[in-house]
Amino acid sequence: MSMFKRSPWMVHYDGASCNGCDIEVLACLTPRYDVERFGVINTGNPKHADVLLITGYINEQSQPVVRQIYQQMPDPKVVIAIGICATSGGIFSECYNTKGGVDSTIPVDVYVPGCAARPESIIDGVVKGLAVLETKRAAWRIERKKRNRVFRLPFFKPKASPP
């Protein structure tokens, strides 16, 4: 059994949103909602994270940042788009500076609706994301086994860092 379900660490990035969803993501950490019950920690560091929460849509400037954060996260990883802006651009989809939802830049696994998304639905989205994380882990392990047939301690196995 894997422990991903019990210990999803998250990192949050604000693509280009109105702040509404961002503060709801933060509100999830606080006593009323307390996602740490499920082992969720807001690490703030992509290299430690399993779950990437993105609020707001993607524009020219944030596109490389989102891409970089996604690349920095070690496998297996899940992306959750929070709010309607992250899904499709929402009320701002007609603005000139929009690239579209988060899926225009990186693959998204779970979409959380709402403007602003409520903390309950964000927690729900994270829980849905965990199921995806589990399948991704299985696929990733098979791929890893193929890559190195020889058994080595995972700790000593070097792998080039992403650029």
Binding site: R6, P31, D34, E36, I41, N42, P154
Partner: protein
């Protein structure tokens, strides 16, 4: 013989006990913040998950340094629980710290570098007090051997109150608790992200966590020494002091490194060295 037995027990059981302590710590912290908090076994879940993750490392030496960090932590603890030389324990502990700093400094991230610098500063703040503590513990049994100190049939904390206080003060630094969680903190809401552990991911981070658990048990063992004349007092006292640390963690903001160094040296000089001098003349006078 019993020394070796306890050393083996330490190597085997310290991760379990350390993880449990970390879990209880997180649960209690959450309750103090009026949250429900994670399950008590959460640190183990985290550890196993981290081992399971992809190992993205930034350079090859990093793993070597981290292994050094873990190994020397275990060596220090084993020496201590085998009843060995206290000075050696402190030096091994310092060495393990140096390995962690090297590991962090070998990465390219500026956060990791600043974390490493701050870790060095913290070690600089801790070391004088640790040495004074060793000297203080030497005075009664006239030996640096932990087994001799354990054999002293007197309540050491009554002889060494200043030193105990100083040790507790730096304990906050060693356990990375507020107000001294400068180089890294449990929750990464600080200006240097995760500080010293920013560049470690997956299994590498798991090693750091594991080493911290070993370290926690060793430090608690040191506190135990002060009450060792009676285990019925020592165990509750050690637990009580650890709980006090959690309380301090929850009632303080993070201070700056200047403040950390100044205050810990001041306490080492006043409480630690003062205690040492008084005790020295006290014993010389023949009490």
């Amino acid at each position: 013989m019993s020394g070796w037995l306890s050393a083996i027990l330490y190597i085997l059981l310290a991760p379990v006990a350390g993880g449990l302590i970390a879990g209880i710590d997180r649960k209690l912290t959450a309750r103090m913040q009026r949250r429900i908090g994670p399950p008590i076994f959460q640190p183990f879940y985290d550890l196993f998950k981290l081992i399971d993750k992809e190992n993205v490392i930034v350079n090859l030496y990093q793993n070597l340094y981290l292994t050094g960090f873990l190994v020397f932590n275990i060596v220090a603890g084993t020496l201590f629980f085998a009843g060995g030389d206290l000075l050696l324990v402190i030096f091994a502990l310092a060495l393990s710290g140096i390995f962690l700093v090297l590991g962090a400094a070998s990465a390219t991230s500026p956060y990791s570098h600043i974390g490493a610098e701050r870790e060095l500063i913290q070690m600089m703040a801790c070391e004088p007090m640790l040495l004074i503590a060793a000297m203080g513990l030497y005075l009664l049994p006239h030996s640096f051997q932990v087994r001799d100190i354990l054999a002293v049939d007197k309540p050491l904390f009554l002889y060494l109150p200043g030193i105990l206080f100083g040790l507790l003060y730096i304990l906050t630094i060693k356990l990375r608790k507020s107000p001294f969680d400068l180089s890294t903190s449990h929750h990464a809401h600080q200006e240097i992200v995760k500080g010293i552990t920013t560049e470690f991911s997956g299994p590498a981070l798991a090693v750091v966590e594991l080493a911290h658990w070993y370290e926690t048990i060793l430090i608690l063992g040191m506190i135990y020494l002060f009450f060792a004349w009676n285990p019925w007092v020592a165990v509750p006292a050690t637990i009580g002091l650890y709980l006090a640390e959690i309380l301090v963690d929850n009632t303080n903001a993070r201070l700056t490194w200047r403040w950390t160094v100044t205050s810990s040296w001041l306490i080492a000089a006043v409480a630690g060295a003062g205690n040492l001098i008084v005790l020295f003349y006290f014993l010389k006078a023949g009490f």
